[in-house]
């Protein structure tokens, strides 16, 4: 049963590799910001699975914190690209 | 916004919610941690109490109850939405026909606009682009003709959200 989690984690790592193509190549800055947000979302799930596989309940708190950081990072990027500054 | 009574009520509700989060996330119940939790929750509640609770609001209990019932219908729509997107992406001919539409609604309060914008983003084939709070106007990017018609012609989602917040 525990090997299924390892297989799922390897598949998620493969999808992170696939979305790097859009992060490197995407014409313009908006495609790159969207791809980085996708990679951040998948990192959250990867942290939860690793925390479950290695039996360390501390990783669930870290993934909660990284979800908040990823959200605020994407919002800051969007505000800067729209107005030219983050705080007016 | 009312000056005195709204402020005290806001600080108390924010303090209770923050302290509840502290207790549920830590799981340790000895003296040092509980006192540290009370101090931290009080500081956060003083600094940012007007972000969570705005004014007094009327009939909050019945609105929360109807909102809880609305969430279950929306979860089913989310599952349908993802099967629709999966069909459009994995089909070898990719049947998409994107367009941008705009429409008016009768919702004016903050919570109702946010609920409708999130529901439009999570349901089949549409994403909210711009919201104008004075006239309740929405700009929406739709991916094909059928989801765009479900918003423009049928108006099922707008009437359900207006039923939850009672702002026909």
């Amino acid at each position: 049963m525990i090997e299924i989690f390892l297989a799922i984690a390897l598949l998620i790592a493969f999808t992170i590799l696939l979305s790097l193509y859009r992060a490197v190549l995407g014409p313009g800055v908006f495609n790159r910001v969207a791809a980085v947000s996708v990679i951040g979302t998948k990192t959250i799930v990867l942290l939860v699975i690793i925390g479950y596989y290695f039996e360390r309940p501390l990783f669930f708190d870290i993934s909660l914190l990284y979800a908040i950081l990823n959200f605020i990072g994407t919002l800051a990027f969007a505000k800067y690209l729209e107005r030219g500054e983050v705080w007016s | 916004m009312n000056a005195k009574s709204g402020k005290g009520f806001g600080i108390l509700v924010t303090f209770c919610i923050m302290f509840l989060f502290w207790l549920l996330l830590s799981g340790i119940f000895d003296t040092f941690h509980i006192i540290a939790g009370i101090i931290c929750s009080a500081i956060v509640a003083f600094i940012s109490h007007d972000l969570l609770v705005r004014g007094k609001g009327e009939k909050m209990l019945s609105k929360s109850f109807r909102f809880f019932i609305y969430i279950w219908w929306e979860l089913w729509q989310i599952v349908l939405a993802n099967f629709d997107v999966a069909y459009r992406v994995l089909h070898p001919k990719m049947p998409i026909d994107p367009r941008i539409i705009e429409f008016d609604t009768s919702l004016r309060s903050d919570f109702a606009l946010v609920t409708l914008a999130n529901s439009i983003t999570l349901t089949p084939g549409t994403i909210t682009i711009l919201v104008e709070p004075e006239r309740g106007k929405f700009w929406v990017h739709a991916i094909a003709k059928k989801p765009a018609d479900a918003l423009l012609v049928d108006k099922t989602m707008q009437s359900k959200v207006a039923d939850v917040y009672m702002e026909w």
């Binding site: 947000s37 979302t41 998948k42 969007a78 | 996330l25 941008i100």
Partner: protein, 117 residues
Amino acid sequence: MVIIDVIVTLFLAAGIFFMFTGVIGLLRLPDFYTRLHATGKCDTLGEVLIIVGLLLDHIYYYVYLLPEAPLSVKLVPVKLIFLIVFIFLANPTATHAIMKAAYKTGVKPWKKGDARM
């Protein structure tokens, strides 16, 4: 093989299928706005399904079968439910914010019959 193992495997398989669909959409669709459709919807649901699968596994093996576990192990499902609620609220908002920035800066949408951009 207990029945809960089959249910958890179904949830995990559905979650990873939706994640693959999201990434294939990111690579295959012709325009920025349509790519956000694929990732904003499929990523959110795939994540939530995987975390719900892990939640069911944890509740069965660590809370129901081991009643003498310490309290910090019994409170892990609460943290995962916070994570699910936060993801449901935060991912569509971030998608909407980046789409609004693109629309106001003047990125052109794709109509049927244009070249790929």
